[in-house]
Symmetry: C2
Subunit: 349 residues, 2 copies
Amino acid sequence: MFIGVGGEGIISFGSGQPDLPPPKEVYGILPDYNGFKYGLIQGQVNLREALVKQYPRSTADSFVITNGASEALDLSLRAIALLQKKKSRKKPKCLICRPYYYSYLPLAEYAGFEPVFTDLKEGRIVYEDFAKKIKDCKAVLINSPSNPTGRVEAIETLKAIEKITERYGVYVLSDEVYKDLIYVRQNYLIKGPHVVTINSFSKTFAMTGLRVGYLWSLDKELVKQVIEMKSHTSMNTSIIAQEMAYTATTVPKRYIDEQLVIWESRRDMIYKGMVELGLDLWKPEGAFYVLPKIDNPRGFVRDMFYKHQVITYLGEWFGAPDRVRFSYALDVDKIEEGLSRVGKYLKSR
Amino acid sequence: MFIGVGGEGIISFGSGQPDLPPPKEVYGILPDYNGFKYGLIQGQVNLREALVKQYPRSTADSFVITNGASEALDLSLRAIALLQKKKSRKKPKCLICRPYYYSYLPLAEYAGFEPVFTDLKEGRIVYEDFAKKIKDCKAVLINSPSNPTGRVEAIETLKAIEKITERYGVYVLSDEVYKDLIYVRQNYLIKGPHVVTINSFSKTFAMTGLRVGYLWSLDKELVKQVIEMKSHTSMNTSIIAQEMAYTATTVPKRYIDEQLVIWESRRDMIYKGMVELGLDLWKPEGAFYVLPKIDNPRGFVRDMFYKHQVITYLGEWFGAPDRVRFSYALDVDKIEEGLSRVGKYLKSR
């Protein structure tokens, strides 16, 4: 359902799949590669040591390398639920900011959490509502920059969240997989004794299919529990993919800067184009998604696909039933053509 | 805890890690590899189509490629528990044959099952006890050839299990990762409407660290549920590791036959050696483990490591507290040296 299809004449605003290739260096290690044995469950030492440089007060022990950010989220939620179970028989609650990344809800439910929602306003957290609801929760999922809203939270809000979650001992899962795709400021790394930062090589280095993500946390009890679980649920993350990810950490920062310039020009084009079409949407500040309001979204998504060969995703998959998600991970020519088809369709409606 | 260490003078009977390299062909695809995009959650089509030839009445739709057999087990158990939850609020039971592979118990518990045990006799299922207990269970884990017992179930027993589990609608998770390492007969593939066969490239092709496993089932509802879960919990299995696994399926069967000859000579040596040391053990019929009875196993494992630099695993990790597990995935010279150290220690006790 969420894998964009290719093909003649199709314009896909579907999958969150960078279209530009990874830095060529990541393939450089392949011709001589000869590994095959089990790696450490926690992840290869060279990769974790390379990551230390990006995280303050950190050592290689604070990281667990995972099968993409997805597994990092899944294991963190399962580990938190397991630790909670030892303390209380009550079903724990997990706060989710709505609209949300489509996996958050099933992942929280699979792990045994009862989801509680705080609705975003203009794509951003309303702190008063957040503060009211967080007191009852054992965990919260934060995603800034956000998929699907494209918004970035104010640093002030993130600092207030650090404070209140520390006071109430709430685990914060901060999904920062778009940390290197922010158009408005540098990334702000949420910190705290029970913060778990989720990250990935998928978006920054266009390595989605290779599946290397990680979590970082200063909560030693939680990291230990995650490793224990992973030793049963999947063991080490594929050693060859980890070696490619390690190589990505050695690539000059220029690669990321150059990518950002491309993403920003795409962002400008799609935002301007949609405003000109009269659509109601939030200006994207990070990641590569827009989430405009659309009348009859199901009809829109269906017709755009079957009549105009344009793939878009229903906002309802992300908890936004009056909207449609567009990923702009494609060339500006294609964005232009896609927007023109959307315009034609909207006029004909 | 379960990763064997290397080093000067150390003999490791610890980890279940084949020491011989994979077929060289699996590295052949690397120099020209340039993939990076998301793959299908269910797994690459070429790999699933190659597997079809090994499974009767099968299509590529019956397979899900996973991060090793571990993830196949984890997802199957979670998916079964989720499907059960829709039918009944009662905590489902999972039957486990004891001694068991060390991950079975935590995986069943993580997924929300209450474990029920049937004790093996001489390392084999006692059908009467199995039949009595299975009626109350929603799932059962079968592992033939078995890690840690090294035993292979009689085909007669497996057929009786097919019959009774079909009658009571019990899901059978048949972990056959050692299917190509059987010394006494061909593998017997357990069949049935709710059978999930778990397999892997790790043992047959010595690709443990690359993490490619899979599940096969004719139960379409279950396969669908597994794919749905995997789309959130880890997405596709690493595409480069899958391509290497695909190449392994094209290697002449001679590779497997030659490996088996080596494993059998190691099996003969360790079995004969242990009998000569007066140890009480079952003759291994498959896989590469022996599980002798040892007085004071904790003292044995500790002393063998600290005083004699020999790594062994406590049977209690596998539900066999009066035994010690030896993996014989190492060269005959090392097996001989290891046995000699064990003999010296036992004499001095």
